[in-house]
């Protein structure tokens, strides 16, 4: 391995076994499986495995140099987290090998191992030890950590009484003071307010500036652009592209916003395991757009989304929830169908759901749309990235795009002036 290569992964692959919805085997399954295996002795060709297998990662070969800040982007289920978990030794690859040169610290979640009953002070020590710091190291950096987190006054309060902001700040502060050669960070900026996110980014830039290697996963494209020197783009477990952040981000967004198909198929999208699955989003379309391409919308045009939904059983109540996110991963608009009216009860069958947003005055740029479908029981289906669209400046039409837009919404308020 050349001197400046700190991570070398060759043909990494990870297979998960899925299929049966309950993730935990019961003894009965194992016994039945044993009987099946026994039966297979007579029919050795039929291993029937492929059906409930799922390749979360395939043929990933990548080299990372010392001091590099590598971004990893991709849709949910593209294998980003699996890759990080393999590199941080939490899980084992099914095939392939990785050589890591140097100490690795991974921050896959903010506050791993925090115990709500323990005080802030105690949790700093506990969390530091879990992340791999020695007691002496934590003691040395303790004041710095507390100052970074801005929780001096509450050090001896159990963290269960902390606000979520304080909790996140303290947790990130501990992690930020690790000094590994390789730092692996997963989507930790999704939490915390804007000011704190900037502070975190600043800290990471500082860490990178000190010659450490960072692997950074985020849905926050602005942060990726700001921080990373190179970006890996994953698609369905495979490496879809690698290179300069700008081009990779464009390709990533393009996959959803630049598609030529007016209707985006959602049936095959990977989903979380905790869904009931009684209702399923089959497709989505951006309707009646005045934009130049199917997934674009001219500024000032009304936004309408159409969903094709299949219900496998009757549900007494139905609630559709939609969130629109900007490039930074911030939720700009949220809406629930129950605010307007009750959508249920619905018999089993296929339905078209239409959502009229009206004119939202979204500033030109890229947006991502997350959709959830709830029944009386629980979340039936959820896609954090159901589709993406681009708002393009309008050159003609009802309202030409104004200049000087800041923020996500260019709201045209009513003004009046009266002399008093």
């Amino acid at each position: 391995m050349p001197d400046d290569i700190v991570i070398a992964a060759e043909n990494l692959a990870k297979r998960y076994r899925l299929g049966r919805a309950p993730r935990h085997d019961t003894l009965r399954d194992a016994l039945a499986g044993g009987a099946r295996r026994l039966a297979r002795l007579w029919r050795p060709r039929d291993d029937g495995a492929a059906a409930d297998e799922f390749w979360a990662l395939r043929d990933i070969t990548v080299e990372v140099r010392r001091g590099e800040v590598l971004g990893i982007i991709g849709r949910n289920g593209a294998g980003k987290s699996t890759l990080l978990k393999i590199l941080s030794r939490i899980t084992e690859p099914t095939a392939g090998r990785v050589s890591l040169h140097g100490r690795v610290a991974s921050l896959l979640e903010v506050g791993t191992g925090f115990h709500p009953e323990l005080s802030g002070r105690e949790n700093v020590y506990l969390n530091g030890a879990i992340l791999g710091m020695s007691r002496a190291e934590i003691r040395r950096k303790f004041d710095e950590i507390v100052a970074f987190a801005e929780v001096e006054k509450f050090l001896d309060t159990p963290v269960k009484h902390y606000s979520s902001g304080m909790y996140v700040r303290l947790a990130f502060a501990v992690a930020a003071h690790l000094e590994p050669e390789i730092l692996i960070v997963d989507e930790v900026l999704a939490v915390g307010d804007h000011a704190f996110q900037q502070k975190c980014l600043g800290k990471m830039e500082q860490v990178a500036g000190a010659g450490r290697t960072i692997l950074f996963v985020s849905h926050n494209m602005a942060a990726i652009q700001q921080l990373c020197g190179r970006v890996l783009r994953l698609e369905q477990g495979r490496l879809a592209g690698a290179g300069a952040p700008g081009a990779q981000i464009r390709d990533y967004l393009g996959a959803s916003t630049r598609s030529a198909d007016r209707v985006r198929n959602l049936a095959g999208e990977p989903r979380g395991l905790d869904l009931r699955g009684g209702a399923r989003l089959l497709s989505v379309a951006l309707a009646g757009s005045g934009g130049p391409a199917p997934w674009s919308l001219s500024f000032g045009e009304p936004l309408r989304l159409e969903f094709d939904v299949e219900l496998t059983r009757a549900i007494p109540t139905c609630e559709l929830g939609i969130g629109l996110f900007n490039l930074q991963g911030q939720e700009i608009v949220s809406t629930l169908s129950s605010w307007e009216r009750e959508l249920g009860p619905l018999e089993a069958g296929r339905y078209a759901f239409t959502v009229e947003f009206g004119v939202l005055d979204l500033a030109p740029g890229n947006y991502r749309c997350g959709v959830g479908l709830k029944s009386d029981r629980d979340l039936e289906d959820y896609l954090p990235e159901a589709c993406g669209f681009e708002v393009v400046p309008a050159t003609h039409g009802r309202r030409p795009t104004p200049t000087g837009i800041r923020g996500a919404i260019a709201h045209q308020a009513r003004y009046s002036v009266t002399r008093i």
Binding site: D25, K85, V104, L131
Partner: protein, 276 residues
């Protein structure tokens, strides 16, 4: 972060860790922190805290004395029956609390295991600490009781750590099996309490084995028998016999449990994060 030396680490499919035991040593501070957390949380959360550690064995002493001493009239060999039961309960409590917390430890720390790397063996190991603290409290109360009852401590007390260690090893061995199996098969959550229920009666907690020569060898197959007898031998002074062969049998069974437990734990440990 793997503490110390920047070196090349190779991760490969299906390959056992070369540095397993060295890693375990490097993470020894984390072992201390996890144990400290468990102890702290246990005594912080429960209002009765220390009282819990005492109340349960106290009630059990009364019950077992009544059943075995008063109703069944088992021979006590000149020892006051409550003392016989109390000295039997000490190792039993140590074992059962160490075994059940080690058995639940991995699933109880699922969040940690799926989000950060460290040698997984630390989790069941740290679970033993709470049981030790409970034992220390009980022992601190038992010794004065023995003194007041006229049983003076002898030099044999010095041998007590040997039996404590033996009880912990047995609990660890059995706990490793249960906790690794529970990760994959949640059924084992229900099997552990069931085993403990049986254990209380096949272990000579409420009676003594030296008056049951016909059963002595059979009972010695239960590794805890030797430990319980050892505790009594240490604490009760001259009135008890120590069956050396029985304790050796305990040690053999304990070694087997720990050996196979470690083997199974290490065999399955690399998949914990995927199935937990």
């Amino acid at each position: 972060m793997t503490p110390a030396l920047p070196e090349t680490l190779v991760i490969e499919a299906g390959r056992a860790e070369r540095h397993y035991w060295r890693d375990l040593w490097r993470y020894r501070e984390l072992l201390g922190f996890l144990a400290w957390r468990d102890i702290k949380v246990r005594y912080k959360q429960a209002v009765l805290g220390v009282a819990w550690a005492v109340l349960q064995p106290a009630v059990q002493t009364v019950l077992l004395t009544f059943v075995f001493g008063t109703l069944a009239r088992m021979p006590s060999g000149g020892v006051k029956y409550p003392l016989l039961v109390l000295t039997g309960l000490l190792p039993w409590q140590l074992f059962s609390s160490a075994f059940s917390s080690a058995g639940n430890s991995l699933v109880g720390n699922a969040q940690l295991i799926s989000k950060v790397y460290f040698p997984r063996l630390l989790v069941p190991l740290s679970a033993l600490a709470v049981a030790l603290v409970d034992l220390a409290i009980l022992l601190g109360l038992t010794l004065p009781i023995l003194l007041v009852s006229g049983v003076a401590p002898t030099w044999r007390l010095a041998a007590l750590p040997v039996f404590i260690a033996a009880a912990l090893l047995i609990a660890l061995g059995a706990g490793l099996w249960i906790t690794a199996l529970t990760v994959k098969y949640r059924d084992f959550r229900f099997i552990a309490p069931f085993l403990l229920q049986i254990g209380l009666f096949v272990t000579p907690v409420g009676f003594r084995t030296d008056f049951l020569p016909n059963w002595r060898d059979l009972l010695a197959l239960n590794p805890l028998t030797g430990v319980v007898n050892g505790f009594r031998w240490c604490l009760l002074g001259g009135d008890t016999d120590f069956y050396v062969q029985g304790f050796l049998a305990s040690l053999v069974v304990a070694a087997l449990l720990v050996g196979t437990g470690l083997w199974y734990f290490r065999k399955t440990e690399r998949q914990f994060a995927d199935v937990i």
